[in-house]
Each structure stands twice: as structure tokens, then as C-alpha cells.
Point group: D2
Chain length 354, copies 4
């Protein structure tokens, strides 16, 4: 504490997986300084009591959440809490001049009715919510630059939208044929409270689907952005699956092409152009398709593109680390942009394979 050149940052909800990623990332960030950790269930504990491997590097204690204190000490606040809490905290923090980046679903929806119908929480904060920007920099960089309040995307939507965006934006597919078959590691299920289905004894050596038939909460989030990209309402067939691994999301995206004459290299050219200025998206060479491990512990999204000329479909494979590009890393990327810094600042760039 006390480095005058660094921006003081706080994290509310420091003990969950999103929180501990943020702690870890901020320790390496050259222009940010972690000065505050907040939480209720762990208040009073040093972070090293919760995560002993961090004990020799972080001496901060988790404090009971007090918005006045946070606002006084922090210029930037990450909210890493269960859904339905951030929308009550953000207004006061914004008033106190903080930039706020929320990792929950609270500020992801331009239409609060959608939020209410999926998350079961009534909202009266329309005015402030409407100032929130959806924190997917590859699509909304221009708006993030000027934002004070960011609704960071869900993990599945990040992988899905980065994979499908060029197709929708360029009108290359029949949007009603699009299907996203997505697969996630179990860290997406969170840490507290522990869920029976996420026990190693249950989830290991097994694979299954859930939220089938459009019943997963990330469906409306994906649809909102897809509709924005396509310029018309898009319904999306989205099916999440649980993979017996810790981190990583892979989205396999299918859609029928408008022009069946396109070949793989045409699409690669389009994707490379679309992501030319996106340092965190790597479009892979022809014939190469990503594995989630490649993105592990990095803020990268790897994308592979294929065509099946027999069926006229494009198949896109998109891979991220759900806790990094899918959550905490992307939040820091957004903050870099909000601060006018290089968006790669302080973020891990390559995995340690294997």
C-alpha cells in the first residue's frame, strides 16, 4: 500500500473463485494496487487463512462490507458476488466516484424485465442499470472506454459470443439455424456453498448436459447480444454440459451458411479481420482446432473455424478459461480499457502446457 503511482482497487466477494482470481491478477498488475477485500462469511480472516498458498504474498484481511469505507479507499471496485447483490451496492459506489466492475449477472441486461424473469429479482434501479456497459471488449470496446459501470459477461456467453460474433455481424448465417453446444469445467459451479453434483466423487469421470432446451440463464444473455449483433431478434439453441475438469469452456457452434459457396479460408480471412485489433483472440490456422487447456490460466480465446461443404454448415470452436477470459481476466481487461491503458496490461498471456 502506498505506491502513489498505482490505482487503489477493492474486491467485494474475495473468497470465491472469481475473487481469488482477481487477487492473483492484481498482484501482478503494474498499475493497480489491491487495497481492500470485502466479504461477509469470511470477514475478519486474512486471505492466507482462506487460501494458504497466498499467505506469504497478501496480508490483507477480509473486511465486512461497508460501502462508505470502500468508496473512500478505492478508485475501482470489483464486485464478485452471487446474483442479486451488486445492483444494491453499485449506485452508492458510483456516487462516490468509483469505477465499478460487476462479475454477476446484475448489469448484463439492457432489458431489466429479462433479468427479473430469469433471476427472480425485482429491480428499481433502471436509471443506473441503463448506464452499464456489457463488458465484452472485442464487441463493445468503444463503449467500455467511457463506462463507469461494467456488467461483465458470463463465462458461457463469452466463449459463445466470441465464436459466433463475426458470423452474425456479417450476416453470414441463417441465425435461426444456429446451435451452441457448450462444455464447461466444474469451477464454474463456484466454491461456496459446495454443491453435491460438483464433488469430485460425483463429477469426475462423468459427462452430462444440463439446462437443456433453453433453460439455462445464459441463454437470454447470449440472445440479447446476438440480437444486437444481427440487428434483429435472435433465438439461440444453447446447451451447457459439465466436463470433469477444473477450468475451461469449449463452445461448438453450428450454423447454416447463407452462401454455401464459402470455403474455410474465406471464413478464416473474415475472422482474422474481425479480430485484427483484438489481442486476446487468436484465430487458429486452417485445420487447427483449440483445446481448452491451451487457454488455461490465460485471458486468451482461441478460435478454430471449419466448414462442412456437404451440409452447408459452418462449425466454429471457441475455447477460453472460464475464470479468466470468462470472468476475472476479462474484468481486468475492461478496466485496462476504462483507464486508457493497453488492454493486455498485467494479464497472463500463455498457458503452461501441459
Amino acid at each position: 500500500m502506498g505506491d502513489a503511482n498505482k490505482i487503489p482497487v477493492g474486491i467485494v466477494g474475495a473468497s470465491g473463485y472469481g475473487g481469488v482470481q482477481l487477487v492473483r491478477l492484481l498482484l501482478d498488475h503494474p498499475l493497480l494496487e489491491l487495497v481492500y477485500l470485502g466479504g461477509e462469511s469470511t470477514a475478519g480472516k486474512a486471505i492466507g487463512e482462506i487460501y494458504p498458498h497466498l499467505g506469504h504474498r497478501v496480508s490483507l484481511k477480509v473486511e465486512s462490507v461497508d460501502l462508505e469505507v470502500i468508496g473512500d479507499r478505492c478508485q475501482v471496485v470489483f464486485l464478485s458476488l452471487p446474483n442479486g447483490l451488486a445492483y444494491k451496492m453499485a449506485p452508492r459506489l458510483l456516487e462516490k466516484g468509483c469505477k465499478v466492475l460487476d462479475l454477476s449477472a446484475d448489469f448484463r441486461f439492457s432489458n431489466l424485465e429479462t433479468y427479473t424473469s430469469w433471476y427472480g429479482v425485482d429491480r428499481q434501479d433502471g436509471a443506473i442499470a441503463s448506464t452499464a456497459v456489457y463488458g465484452l471488449p472485442e464487441l463493445y470496446r468503444d463503449r467500455i472506454v467511457d463506462a463507469q459501470l461494467i456488467g461483465c459477461p458470463g463465462c458461457y456467453p463469452t466463449a459463445s459470443l466470441l465464436g459466433i460474433a463475426p458470423l452474425l455481424k456479417q450476416g453470414l448465417i441463417l441465425s435461426e439455424t444456429a446451435i451452441i453446444d457448450a462444455k464447461s469445467g466444474t469451477s464454474g459451479g463456484g466454491r461456496q456453498p459446495p454443491k453435491t453434483g460438483m464433488l469430485l466423487a460425483e463429477a469426475d469421470n462423468s459427462f452430462g448436459a444440463y439446462g437443456i432446451g433453453g433453460r439455462h440463464r445464459h441463454t437470454p444473455e447470449i440472445e440479447e447480444i446476438c440480437s444486437d449483433l444481427a440487428g434483429h431478434e435472435v433465438l439461440m439453441q444453447f446447451t451447457p454440459h459439465l466436463v470433469p475438469m477444473v477450468r475451461g469452456i469449449l463452445a461448438t457452434i453450428y450454423a447454416t451458411m447463407r452462401d454455401p459457396g464459402l470455403v474455410r479460408d474465406d471464413l478464416l480471412t473474415i475472422y482474422q479481420a474481425f479480430y485484427r485489433n483484438a489481442p486476446w483472440v487468436q484465430v487458429l490456422p486452417s485445420g487447427i482446432y483449440p483445446q481448452t487447456k491451451w487457454a488455461c490460466h490465460t485471458n486468451l480465446c482461441y478460435i478454430g473455424v471449419e466448414i462442412d461443404p456437404r451440409t452447408g454448415r459452418v462449425i466454429v470452436i471457441s475455447a477460453i478459461d472460464n475464470l479468466m477470459k470468462g470472468q476475472a481476466g476479462q474484468a481486468v481487461q475492461c478496466l485496462n480499457i476504462m483507464m486508457g491503458w493497453d488492454e493486455t496490461l498485467g494479464l497472463p498471456q500463455l498457458s503452461f502446457y501441459p
Copy 2:
């Protein structure tokens, strides 16, 4: 050896994963007796030298492959070899009066040109190959009863076809909209020679697709049977993925319904009727979707059915153990039928969860 009431059975290719499943299954089968193990690379070794956990139960040695010897000693022969070998062995074994069940791709195709174009092997054995029956009992039980030569299905086709068959057979879907997104454990990659990509260090905690865009060899196999079921040529979008687990396949199947007015319970009724006489297929109750672990070490296929009324699609989830219902277990099931026995005889019926 020497139980006069048991049918003598041999396995060629005993040391691979298919072979060792067969060894294990035959030890429990009340009417079969394992009398011969053949293999080239392991010839001369006792099975207990290759798989020490079996040493106290099986004293057979692997013998160098000699078709005359096999034909003299066995009434039934399982061929569990790499593709392109069985079609050279089966004719002589059939001549000697053996029933032959082949676990490779050699006898799966009614059109040998398809086989040749995908497997790169020229075939001159059309007459005998044409007597082979595709060993998926739930679809071809009547033909299996009378067969002497069975081409056992691939693991992906088994999961895929059991999932999609009622839809195609009843004409419930627009077949050109069907997509099969399939996921398999790594035991499907075999044991010898070991593959770098299947090392635990590589495959664990990672997830990826392969054979994208109709490039996997199970695509033509699925299409042949789907076309037979539909009564017209069907192209299938099939994408396999590798899951960091040992066993299991899950197929997520999407298709647009011809009649968008169907509801979930309609489809469940149709599926239950279709599989009424299929003891190895379990259609799950409304709202329940299978995990691969449920089928592990059993010959069961669990199926869950869902509808997305917004998109008009049916989504079917099908789960099997790739080495059991997807390979060795199904072969024994076929043999049970060929012998006129109950098709559940000697096969494991329930997994040990978790």
C-alpha cells in the same frame, strides 16, 4: 475348460481394451467358456502378465493367430483387431462353422466402396461381407438372430443411433437439420500403440473437438444406418469431442421437429414404445437427463428427451459406456441373440455409483 454345457469361445486381439472387456465379460457368462486368446504382439504371454489383476482368475496364454486352430477349438470367435484385418480372417472361420463377431469397422458397411474410401483398404470379399449384419440389436434384432457374421457398431454410432432412431424411423424430424454433438472418454483411443494425445498429461483437464466437418470415420457409418431408418439418404452433422475421462460417450442430438406442436411427454411416449422390448435401453423420466457415469461398466444406454418449444427443436441426450454397450458388451448381447438366449445373459446391469 471342459464344461460340456458351455459354448467354447475365442478372442483374437485379446490384449487391447476391447479384448480385455471380452475376457472379463466371458468370465461371468453362464453359458460361454473362454478357451482361446489370440494376438501377435503379445503371443506367448499369459493374460496375467499383461493385466496382472486378472492373473488369479485366467491362466490362458495368448497364442499366435492360427485360423485352423481357432476354428477347431471355438464355436464362436470375437475379432478385436485394428481395422483391415478381420475381413481376411472371417471367411475361413465361417467356413469352419464359427459364428464370428467383429469389433472393427470391417463388416459395418453394406456398401464396401464406402468402407474403402474411408478406411483405405481395397476389398475383394463382397460375397461374404454382404452376409454380415450390423450388430445393433435394438434396430436389427431380427437379422442378428440368423446371422453368422456380425459387424459390431462403432461406439459413437451406438450412442448416436440409439438416440436418434425413433425420430428418424417415425419421421418426426427434418432429417437435414439433425446435428450430433458427441463426446467420448479417452479409452476409445485404444491401448496399443499409445498415442501422445491420449496421455494423461495431455488429455487431462482439457477438452477439444476433432474430425470436425464430417471428417470422422463414424460419420458414414451413422449416415448409412440413419438412411436405412429414414428410408432416404441422410447426411449427418457429426462432431466428436474428447472428454478427460476413461469411459463413456454422451451424444447430444438436435433436430427440428416436423410438428412443432409435439410436447416432451409425446416424445417420451414414442421413445418408450420404440424401446419397449429393449432391455438395454432406459428412457428416463420427464426432465431427467443422463450422465455417462450412470452407464459405466454396464451394457445400458440411458436416454433423455427434451423439447425447446421456442425453437421447435427436439434435443435428445444418449449415454453409454463406450467399451461396453459401445463395443464388447454389445457384441456379447448380439451373441446372446444369435444363440437364442435372453439378450441380457451374463452382462452387467447396473453401475457402481459414484
Copy 3:
């Protein structure tokens, strides 16, 4: 229900991992019939609601625990509950003529003070507790034959004691030099309530020790039996570790030999003689050491024996499935003995490798 030739059996605590193993085992047992499932948190649910993969085979509902009802309907009762409950239930069940097999720690200790000091529960049931027999058949078969109440061993003690028993019983080692370094899969941590440290996201791809320095509750249990075997008090250095896998325990046992002139084959001869009449213990051939996977889903214990002539130590490796030979399987083995049946009856004999 209603098979007059089968013994009616009940399980109290049916929804945990021990309970579901018992359910599974009883379905295959030729002389037992499952007629009752009891539990508090899941009372009123069918077993298929808790474990959907069993729904097509078991229609029993979990009932609220009523000892009179249990005693009226069951001749045998398995208690599969958290520590500190069984000792309150067993007396009434015994009075009603039931044979009782308890999977908790309640009846493992001949000295109730040891139980109280480690489990924090005061006990007034000394008279009945003293009739309990420690359910490790390879050591106490003679007493199990006549028992009405069995205290089934812990999972670590089973693997540890089977590995070290011949050494202590024959006085081959300096008992004060013995060290048991044991490793277990995470299913040993149970299902309800789920523990954070047992989440796949936490436990996968990690390995650690716990209960170091004699602080694990299985230490006094191991010491009690070791002292009985040795004929004098034995302290044991026991260290448990958590392995990122579902099932299995491996115990690596070190001890200095009294006679440094013994060679490996001497010890193998001694072990084979010791376990000559133990169908569930397999002493492996010279130079072969077990992996936990070999024992998976079976009631087997595989043992490998080695000597280091340089250091004068014997090293024994013992492997079991913690939920089978380490828990439910062993309980059924005990019951087989109590009933005068073959002790292998109805128990799975070989794993499905890999």
C-alpha cells in the same frame, strides 16, 4: 418382496455412498432381498429420485427411521450413518432379533473410552458394545460367525491391517518402526453435506496429506487391532493423503525386519500362507505391485510385498476399493459369514479395466 427363500434386509442411511453401494450389492445377491430403506433427510423419496440410474430397478422409497418397523420387516439391518447414531439404534434392533452390521465407527472399539476420546460422544452402552465383533473377516472370521452385531472397519484400517497383519502376527518386524503412508480417493469424504475440499475444482489435480502426526481417527482403530495381532501395545505412524480420484485406497507400509536375512520370496510364502483361506485377498507374484484400479468395484484386496536388503526394511503395498472391501462389500462379506454362506456370495470379483 416376497421371495420366501431370501432373507429380508434393510438399510438405514440409504442415500450416502455406503448406502448406495449396499443397495447395488443387494440387488445382485442371490440370498438377500432388500425390503427397507431408511433415512431422515431423504425420507419420502424413491431411491430413483436420489440416484436416477437406479430408478428402473429399485422402486423402494426411503422411509423415516422407525426401529419397530425395521425390526418387524428385516432380519438383517445395515446401519450406514454418520458416527454417533448407530449405537443408539442397535440395541433395540438386536432385541427384536435382527443381525446388525454398522458401517460407522460406533462399534469398532473394544475400549469405549478410546471411542469417546476420539469421537467426542459419551457412551453408556458398554454391555451391548462389548458383544460387537470387528468385521474384518480375514482376521476375525471365527468370531464373526457367531456375531449378532458387527462393527465394520474403516476404509483405511482395512487396507492397512490386511497389509501389515502377517508381519505383526508372525512377529517379523520391529513394530515401533512401522509406518503406514496411506492414500485415498475422495469418495471417502462422503456425499452429504458436500465439503468444499472435496469439490472437483479443489481436489482435482492436487495431492495432499491430512491428519498428520497421528491425528486421524483411523489411527486408534489401526492401533487397537495391531496391538491385538502383536500381542502387545503398538503405536502406529499413520498418515492419510487425498488422491484426485473417486475410489480406491493404497497403503504403503514400511517396517524394519527382525531378521534382515529374509528375502522377498520368504515373505511372499508367509503372506500366501496367511491368506490361503481368504478368497478376497490376492497376494501378487514376486515383483508385482498393485494399483488401486485393479480393485475398483470389487471386494478384493491386492497385496504386493518387497524387501530393501540395503535398509533391512520390508515394504508392503495394499490396494482396495474404499467403498467395497473398505466399506459396503466387506459388510456383505461379514453377513455371508454370519449366515453360514460362502463369503464370496453376491460380491463383485473382478474390475472392468481400464
Copy 4:
């Protein structure tokens, strides 16, 4: 290439797991520049063809190994090859003025007869081999400073020696009672050629020991250094085990204390003093014991210390990442010291949990 302030570095054996770690580490090192990759089996390929996730960051091709070329282009050479190759290459590279860090066993032994008897390779290079320094900086920092040739320690020896060194150096234990029970992830088995036992299908969900009874090659390596630390010859009981995970080694070390009156805090004080100037060793607080995951992808070694007052033993738990502190990271740490830099330079300091 071409940064005048950076030291040009080469890697021979770039495609294995050690090699790819070095590539990854050098990309982040502020004072080193990777200018050369050598290998035989992959010569001619770009690193991005072998490891596609690196393709966008590294454009170097693997070159056929030519010592003259390497010596001309590199000031520092890492040799990451199978045992028995480096000792032929190092002399010429040293002559050409390179600093050489060898990751194989070739330069780990001060007594070449030990090497020959364990590795089966006759050696005539005694003069040069005798200049090699064992690259464990926490023990031999002073000698590493001046070395031109480093024999980097094995992964098991690193974890074992860091755990036991304070005990031996201070004479706190009866060295003949020491036992090291070590456990490793499967990446220690290497990438090429792939080994059957390291397949995910084989190794996952299983746990076993190997090299039991002093038969593992790391035994003499550990004994050489232990003897040096103790000042007299030490025999060590060392047992390696394979854990179903990718990375990580945990060593559980047992020994009887000379002074049974020592308590845990005494030992912690001794350990903290011993490692006061060792930035890569973290002695954990009282009552905390490490998991391998804490060290994953870092160069850290976490150590926990416990005492069992009943048995008079100390138990030390030591955890590292086998490919980082156990291999490539430690090599870079050595190089930092050889160059007179801070030994933490360019090395990853904290894992991304979970």
C-alpha cells in the same frame, strides 16, 4: 532476436515437456532471449506445429542439432534430452564459451561410477563432469554462482531434499530412520515416446507405487546429496508413486528425532532460519500442510512440518511443481544465479487457484 540487452539462449530438446516449459519461461524473462531450438525428431518444424497454442508468439523452427551453430549463436544452452546424450554435447559447448544447464541425469553425480551403474552408460568425461555443480540453489548457491556447467536435479530429489535438508544438516534426526514416500503427477513420465502406463485410460482414477525397495534411479541421487548434507553416508528409503494428475510432486518424509523433546514450533523456527534467504521455499505456518496444487505452474516449494510426540518422529511434507521447481524453473533459477541476477527473475511466483 536482436535485443542487444538480452542474453541469447538455446534449448536442445525443445519439444518435450521440459523443453516447452523452458520456451514458455524464456518468453517472459526480461534478460534472456530465446534464439535457438534444437531437436532431432522434430527438426524442421516450427514450435507452433508441435504446440499450436504457442504459434502466435514463437516463430522459431526446431533445428537439427549442430554444436558449432549452437555455440556460435548462444551464450547459454539448456540441454533437455533423454539421459546419456548431454555428456557428449556439453564439452564442446563449454569450449565455445557457453554456460550449460543440463536437465538430464548426466551431470548430477560427483561419482561417475554411480551414474554408470544406474544409467548403464560408460563415461570417459570425468574431468569435465567434475566441474558440474548440482543445481539445487537452496543448498549449493555459492557453487552455482561460479559454475559453467549445471546438472539440474531430478524432480523427486528436489522435493525430497528441500524437505529433509534442514534435518540432516542440523543433525536433528537419526538418518537411518528416514523414509521418503513420494508421489508424482504423470507429466514426469515425459511426452515422447508415449508410454502405455501414462495413458489417461490407464493412469486416471488409479494410484500405485513403482521402483519400490530402492530401485528408482532417484534413490542414489538423493543419497549422494543427503550424505553430503549429513557429513556421513546416508542410505535412503525412497518410494515413488504415480498420482492421477498432470503436475506436482508431494514428498512425505518421516524420521525419528534425535531429541524427542523438540516441538513443532522448534522445528518451524529451524526451517524458517534455514530457508531465510531462499525466496522459492515457503515454510508454512504451524498446522498448515501443502497441496501440490498450490505450487502448480510456479517455482515454489511449500513445506509443512509436523511432529508426532507419541512416536518421536518428525513428518515433513514438501510440495513442488515437478516441471517447474522440479525441472525447468529451477534451471532458470540456477541461470539467474550464474548471471548474477536476482534468482526470482522471470519466474512465475503464484499459482492460479483452483
